[in-house]
């Protein structure tokens, strides 16, 4: 069974707008979180991203539920 994935959103530029859901992703092998270079490699441009860490990973590695990554070009 495929493990629960990380969900990634791009933060809105203006207040009142919804974040843009980019889909379900997995970090590169051996990592438990995303770095900005990983997001660049996925083809995401500059901006702020919010990532939801799957519950299983959170439990095992004692990670917070939300991760915030900024990509600067």
């Amino acid at each position: 069974m495929k493990p629960e994935a990380y969900k990634i959103w791009k933060n809105p530029e203006h207040r009142g707008e919804s974040p843009k859901y980019l889909g379900d992703f997995y970090p590169p092998k051996g990592q438990v979180c995303f770095f900005n270079s990983d997001l660049t490699a996925l083809g995401f441009g500059a901006g702020d991203y919010t990532i939801r860490v799957p519950s299983l990973i959170r439990k095992i590695y004692a990670l917070p539920e939300w991760q915030k990554v900024s990509v600067i070009e």
């Binding site: 969900k7 933060n11 809105p12 919010t50 004692a62 917070p64 939300w66 915030k68």
Partner: protein
Amino acid sequence: MSDLSRFQVEAEAWGISLGTRFELESLVQPSLRPLEDFTEEDYNEFEFRGRVAELLGANGLIGKAKRYIDCARMGFCLECEGEEHHRFFSPLYCDLRFCPRCAPRRFARLFARHCRALEYIRRHVVRGFRLREITLTSINTGSLSADQIKKFNKHVKLTIRRLMKSLRGWGAIWVDEVGFNNTNLHAHVLIYCPYIAQERLAAVWQLVSGHQVAWIEQSHVFGPKALLHLLKYVSKPPANDPKIIGMLEVAFHGTRRVHALGLFYNFAGGDEDGEESEWQTCPKCGAQLTLIKGQHSVRELRALGLEFIGFFKIKGKNKKWLN
């Protein structure tokens, strides 16, 4: 479309709960600083709990490791069957002995369990008997194991039994304790008994255990206060080093830390393990409370606007106490 409807549609499309959608909103809005509510204290707690859990896991206590990490992070929802359907949340606690959050909870349960003996003592005074405090120490070996603790407890029990031989109406309760951030195992005993000379106590302790240092004095406080004084050792973890906390949890796995003999054993009551929930009825309207199946993160439950049921407990008890 209202914000709520929009959030409901988005939550469904993105495969997350409505609570998570609300939480996401507070994180992504440009005017709000993300993760603002996750303070340095939270990160430190995570770090600390993670290191303790690592040790527990390495010693085969996987279940305890998970409970320790997740203490009060997950919770469940309670809904009342009254007309207004009041909803509350209650966190899931790890209830481990050396958890900074759960140690005071254990202390409260132990106090409730053993204070009846003191009430009996107050009503049935035995001539010449007093509440006395004994300290029995052991040699610090630099490490602690379950066998070592079991053997130590056996020695304490045997010493008290020898001292109380042929006497009636006595009672004793003791707590295993270690020094702060070290492995200096000793026992604090609250005993209701006649006068015992310190020399005799030390001689029996040495004969039984081989350890030398033992001390006895008449309790400076009376009744429940004496028990409060004894159990204070249970109320806070004896270390701020995750390695020591992990080691203590492993060493005390399957071993009690508080032991009772005589009167304290006979009158022990209450729910030490907290299996009976206090929350049978709604604190707002008194209707029956129902537990809604499923666990959620406490953040999620808070984001849904649910109130922590424990707040009502504190208010209620304070009022009772004042009256």
